[in-house]
Symmetry: C2
Subunit: 217 residues, 2 copies
């Protein structure tokens, strides 16, 4: 390929592990972890690649449009946004569950027990909709941008669908997870056309990241 490989990295919780995984593949993006870094486009130490620092939800956008040939993003985002990117490697880190949660005082203990047409608040309304459709339970979905746990607390929604890592936020807000939609981890994704036209440089990065991500046997 001509020019440096561009890799879209999600700012936030996945960034540190993403940098470590590319380090194992010979690409040093340590500079993006510098708290003083204000750049959104950061070259690797060797100059053969550059990182695009973007929001989690924007990683598949840059990869789908080919502005980045590779990207690292949570499986939850891939499920929610369903953009045309190739899923290449399960990186294993960033593990969490997409769960249905209700107030601890709620009488409902399974998703299928929830009353039809009740309100579900979520940042992941597409995931939630698919899940309840599969249960044949029509629900009123309320899209929120953050602090979804306020839905049941204020009485706006009966339940929420949200990512649960340690469960601390749920506990602090008097909520309990009653069912999981799926388990999510960080994934290496690629632009399908870039992978097809690859002269070997991309595949080498993908292979090295995959080796560094393989569970120890």
């Amino acid at each position: 390929m001509s020019g440096p490989v561009t890799i879209a990295l999600a700012k936030g919780a996945l960034l540190k592990d993403s940098v470590a995984r590319f380090a194992a593949a010979g690409l040093d993006f340590q500079a993006v972890l510098d708290p003083g870094n204000r750049l959104l486009m950061v070259p690797s130490a060797c100059g053969r690649a550059r990182a695009l620092l973007v929001r989690n939800a924007d990683v598949p956008v840059y990869v789908a449009y080919g502005q980045a040939q590779l990207g690292v993003v949570g499986y939850d985002v891939l499920r929610e946004h369903q953009l045309p990117v190739a899923e290449l490697v399960d990186l294993g880190f960033g593990g969490c569950r997409m769960s249905v949660a209700v107030k601890a005082s709620s009488p409902y203990r399974r998703a299928a027990d929830l009353p039809a047409h009740c309100r579900i608040a979520s940042k992941f309304t597409r995931c939630a909709e698919e899940f309840f459709e599969a249960l044949d339970l029509p629900m009123e979905l309320i899209h929120l941008a953050g602090s979804v746990e306020l839905g049941p607390i204020t009485g706006m929604s009966e339940a929420i669908v949200d990512l649960v890592a340690t469960g601390r936020t749920l506990r602090e807000n008097g909520l309990i997870a009653i069912e999981d939609l799926f388990h999510s981890t960080a994934r290496l994704v690629g632009h399908p056309l870039a992978l097809r036209l690859d002269d070997g440089a991309l595949q080498e990065i993908v292979d090295r990241v995959a080796s560094a991500s393989a569970p120890l046997s």
Copy 2:
């Protein structure tokens, strides 16, 4: 009304001025400005009201569903999400412009000059769509969650539609605003039914906030 008045406040840039405006109306929400505050629901010092601390985009959701009787939110969010809330007072602060911006090196100096079907990146794709439709210019809109300035920098989009306050972010990224869609300020909004059923308590708050917001004559 029964129980305390609930007021949805946007976390972030609008919060400090929002608290000052309600202080002028006799409601002390100073506690929400404490950096150590982790609560999302904060009672006023007098106990007659409580603040819900939510994302900008979620303020009209809580007000539309009646979980908050009043809320403070940017006009940009009201334009983008178009939920059924009553717009009560222009609070005057949080001023910014929703603008079309291009690379400084771009040949285009008016929105109407942009080529049809070019790509526009934005967090406010509904606002952008309406604007270009009114110009009779069909565009391909790309929704991003943040750092929209990367659109033209990476070559993914010809232009962006984004909020511009000081213009510093545009300048730092080599972009210039070429046209404004509208000017935005913070607005006091209310739940239409709560206003209709109000026994006077809500209207008193609205009137006091309005007085504190009136331009000096």
